[in-house]
Symmetry: D2
Subunit: 362 residues, 4 copies
Amino acid sequence: MKNTFGNSVAVTIFGESHGEYIGAVIDGLAPGIKVDTEYIAHMLTLRRPDGKISTPRKEKDEFKIVSGVVAGTTTGTAITILIPNENVQSGDYSQMKTVARPSHADYTAQCKYHGYQDSRGGGHFSGRITAALVAAGAICRYALMQKGILIGTHVKKCAGVSDREFGNLCVDITELNDKTFAVLDEAAGEDMVKAILQAASEGDSVGGVLETVITGVPAGVGEPWFDSVESMLSHMMFSIPAVKGIEFGLGFGIADMRGSEANDPIRMDGDKVITETNNNGGINGGITNGMPIIFRTAIKPTPTIFKPQNTIDFKTMTETVLEPKGRHDPAIVHRARIVQDAASAIVLCDALAMRFGTDYLK
Amino acid sequence: MKNTFGNSVAVTIFGESHGEYIGAVIDGLAPGIKVDTEYIAHMLTLRRPDGKISTPRKEKDEFKIVSGVVAGTTTGTAITILIPNENVQSGDYSQMKTVARPSHADYTAQCKYHGYQDSRGGGHFSGRITAALVAAGAICRYALMQKGILIGTHVKKCAGVSDREFGNLCVDITELNDKTFAVLDEAAGEDMVKAILQAASEGDSVGGVLETVITGVPAGVGEPWFDSVESMLSHMMFSIPAVKGIEFGLGFGIADMRGSEANDPIRMDGDKVITETNNNGGINGGITNGMPIIFRTAIKPTPTIFKPQNTIDFKTMTETVLEPKGRHDPAIVHRARIVQDAASAIVLCDALAMRFGTDYLK
Amino acid sequence: MKNTFGNSVAVTIFGESHGEYIGAVIDGLAPGIKVDTEYIAHMLTLRRPDGKISTPRKEKDEFKIVSGVVAGTTTGTAITILIPNENVQSGDYSQMKTVARPSHADYTAQCKYHGYQDSRGGGHFSGRITAALVAAGAICRYALMQKGILIGTHVKKCAGVSDREFGNLCVDITELNDKTFAVLDEAAGEDMVKAILQAASEGDSVGGVLETVITGVPAGVGEPWFDSVESMLSHMMFSIPAVKGIEFGLGFGIADMRGSEANDPIRMDGDKVITETNNNGGINGGITNGMPIIFRTAIKPTPTIFKPQNTIDFKTMTETVLEPKGRHDPAIVHRARIVQDAASAIVLCDALAMRFGTDYLK
Amino acid sequence: MKNTFGNSVAVTIFGESHGEYIGAVIDGLAPGIKVDTEYIAHMLTLRRPDGKISTPRKEKDEFKIVSGVVAGTTTGTAITILIPNENVQSGDYSQMKTVARPSHADYTAQCKYHGYQDSRGGGHFSGRITAALVAAGAICRYALMQKGILIGTHVKKCAGVSDREFGNLCVDITELNDKTFAVLDEAAGEDMVKAILQAASEGDSVGGVLETVITGVPAGVGEPWFDSVESMLSHMMFSIPAVKGIEFGLGFGIADMRGSEANDPIRMDGDKVITETNNNGGINGGITNGMPIIFRTAIKPTPTIFKPQNTIDFKTMTETVLEPKGRHDPAIVHRARIVQDAASAIVLCDALAMRFGTDYLK
């Protein structure tokens, strides 16, 4: 449903880049969950542009929670988070932008909303809206942490530079979570930043790959067909702007393998069932098997670049050349990673509540 | 919702490999749509194992439509298709299979259903159930064709052999639709079959990549956030067994590009808006832009192989070695392609009805 | 969603009066629930016309369960029940009935389905379809019984004759469940039957009021706003043909009271919280309070009567007079009661699974 | 889904009586609809307590729209309305109220939320939250008006005093909409107010019956089974606090009739199909027939009264006597009518968009 995701735990997001507030409503989260505003603020900080390799737009993200939380604890009813938009420079509000930026949603928004869409700063399609997703997801993620479920995402690849593989998941996740530029190998991260700055200096942008790992999810969650865990996670991930691909476990790599290489042998680890490899990313037949859930997403290069591009004016339906000005990111992959963490947390809260009831995260 | 997909057009599937029927209910499809049983039968034939590179299980798929269709035309109310299971060789029904086949759903089904799952022939997790999806999707696909919306899938890659790129989409789609082994380049197809047979001769299996193209979808369909067209399609595709990845347009390939390479320049083609390239696969900001929708899925190698594999017996919770016997496919990628066509058709019927109303496909 | 109801436990119904099968798919019911086919058959018998005060159509209701049940026990995956239509007398299939029966769905179906609806015997709008609801509900109801949740409905009023009030609920419910004509006071029941036969002899029909009581539902089920227990139950009840009203507890009677009369005082009964009266029908603020849930529905007189009625032919759009012939019920209230029981059971299974998880009814 | 209603047009509400904001998100409303803030303010005024027969709590309802509206027009994306809570007198926030008010949601909230619920001023269960529903519904209702669909509700009965029947619907609806105490017969209204004041003077409260009529809805809207128009409307109406019953057309009155009296004869009115009577309230088989939709709801007397009542303290689980103090309404039926108007508008927007597409109300 458009701007609402979830069945038992449902998140609704709203807002435009230059409106008064963006925000989210989280409905169905169990009562009695501690809501750590420092943690939410920290997550929002990690999403925020840092000025060097991101848009210089200042976003303070001074969110407030206006419903569903009393004395730092969830009440069990709908939680609403508001994030004011500050530092807005909309210019002439009355003039609709009608030159479509290539590979943006400008033209598709026009087809869907017939000119009534808010076009200021990307409107409802702005990456800015992901701040609401991050705030909502931060509450979910914190709740999951209390149940031993950890989520971590790193920039697996950016501008052709690759990070190292995950090693000890607990250690790696913990380290990642405090990093502004989330890589496991700092040297690789520095190379990525250099490559981003290089692209920026040329008026261009870069993309990348994000890898997320989720540990501690019990076996037996998810559904055999249409609500497979992969279905739910991918549904959510493709809601994040710029995501153009997702793969679980070995993903596209598994397509080139033989079954004898790809299959994950099962064995006992004490009284726990584990697999020796995790090529299926923790999911078999749509249902979790107790191993870490692993997936990667492809993040396209930021479509706004500072080079002339052929496009159309969809008001006059004539061809024109666009030379964008303003504040934009030469890369968003490092910022999207916290969105991916948050979005994953929302999916898991919903899936766990569907499986074990609405009090599960209490 | 588990076994139901869709909001305005909703498909429910049911059945087990060795039950009396598998089937589907399609609800919400417009009244007055011609239902071509020959076409459905043809689609089921394309999904059916052919004996050489597939399981020798004979599946006649003598489906019948028992509701929602009168005089070969949809009534507008729920359509139910039943497909009897024939040639069932269940052996001892009373003995629950408790040795988990690696990378199958055996163990996860146990975690979810606590031993009550039907384990005969894979039960509800059997690829057999996709016949129901194909039959339901065939009705949807036929309806879309009447509106000029065409869907085609080819085996882009299998066992390391690649098919050629799509060329003229109309021609290619039409050709693909009649092929048992859907490749654009027959020579590549022959190499794939050889590679599959080679793997089979070694008791092994192979995977592959499927590529789907959908033409004729109007611009302006889909939602900005949680019901992006990518979200809806990926949700559905990950319901198909063995799919472990999906990518739209350039997908993971776009992650290595710069914005200046990746962006799709827009121009006029007469009075129609088109893009010069289609790196975004026909979707911007979650909404269709009128260009062909293009996506690829990663199909893992069939997990059932004829080599000894380490696993556990989940009844005794002890380790054991599995040496599967029975009828199995060394590859399913060529059969999965018709499932992907059908599943795509269901998603589109739903998305179009949500956008334009329940009579749109009439 | 049209023909699907429920979030965690979802029921889909399908079929037409003169099609091959009607049926239902129950998805999401916990694994390990005993499925008693005798019980289902008994419920179907109670719904079946008995020939004296009902249509003489013979319905054997030889249902079969074709998925989701193995060895008499739910597997946890979608359960499909098929009920063949027998004794069908469709006459000329090719001739669409275009004279609208007043207060039937003939004309509204035409407006919605544009002439493609199956008009034979009422098609998808036939009360016949409720047999599928009864079969699906019977499985749910049996599952609830194992958890101590009992459901009973009596004909509170029919043709102006009233049954007595509920007394000892356990005793009354048990007695009701075996009765063909479910009244608490046999004498009242006999008067009702007489009144029905009198109406029938005049070519007319009668309506009535059904009262349902549900005991054993734990406190704390339901949602504060849009998914209140009253919302869920009423949503379902208005799906039953002929229901034109529903009221909980005192219902419309409470509208004339003062708060001091209407409020239910609360007290302890041992360590259990109870209310002295139950004017709110077991629900406060949309959420169960542990007291019996009580509601009544208004069932309109069967619209098919054997008297001339003014109406239109919606093909020619001209006025005409209808004099129905064929097999029809002079009353359906006594048959609808088992539908109401069954439908209630479906709602409760869904609400309980949403609250306590998918294994709750195991 | 708890606090979200609707499929194509979805409304989410949030907030607590003593939180910073209450509010609503309306998602899926067509782009290009004029949003008249004066109209919304007027609707909120009609819901507001007026001091004489209502709680003296001052509610200014200075709402603001923070997303989804630009230049007084819907953009087509999620609309968020915030209404600040003013004049809050929460007293000691730290002390949970644990004495359950009879027939309130206090005890059921405790069972569901385990003591974490916000108990200040009724929290999330407060009638205050209906202001959000009114604001959201006002936008929907205004949009419907532009399409010729009018909604009006009057106090059919209050404290035993009855209003007159509807006459000329257009005239009556127009008159009702400007009235603070919505009756068709002013003299009856005065008697009702007197009766309310009498009850108030005795520390007691009264209930009533609301009747809603909706004109201009096209025929063919709604679904045959689970999403009948009655199902959708009743689902929504039982979300309004204090509603304990709903009936369509003649409702419970039809249960005592014979078919020959109850059936609505159909005839032509020029080229329009109408029924001579409207005993079915504009709906047959769950689908609109083009006649006015008519329904009535039973509103229970405000449970908060100023008389001692037996109850329990659910913290100590001991019996006690409650003597409420504070600000409360001796009747809410006259305020609930605007909530009923608004809630009806939301349902209709959703049903129409499902039927005719998301641009229907544009």
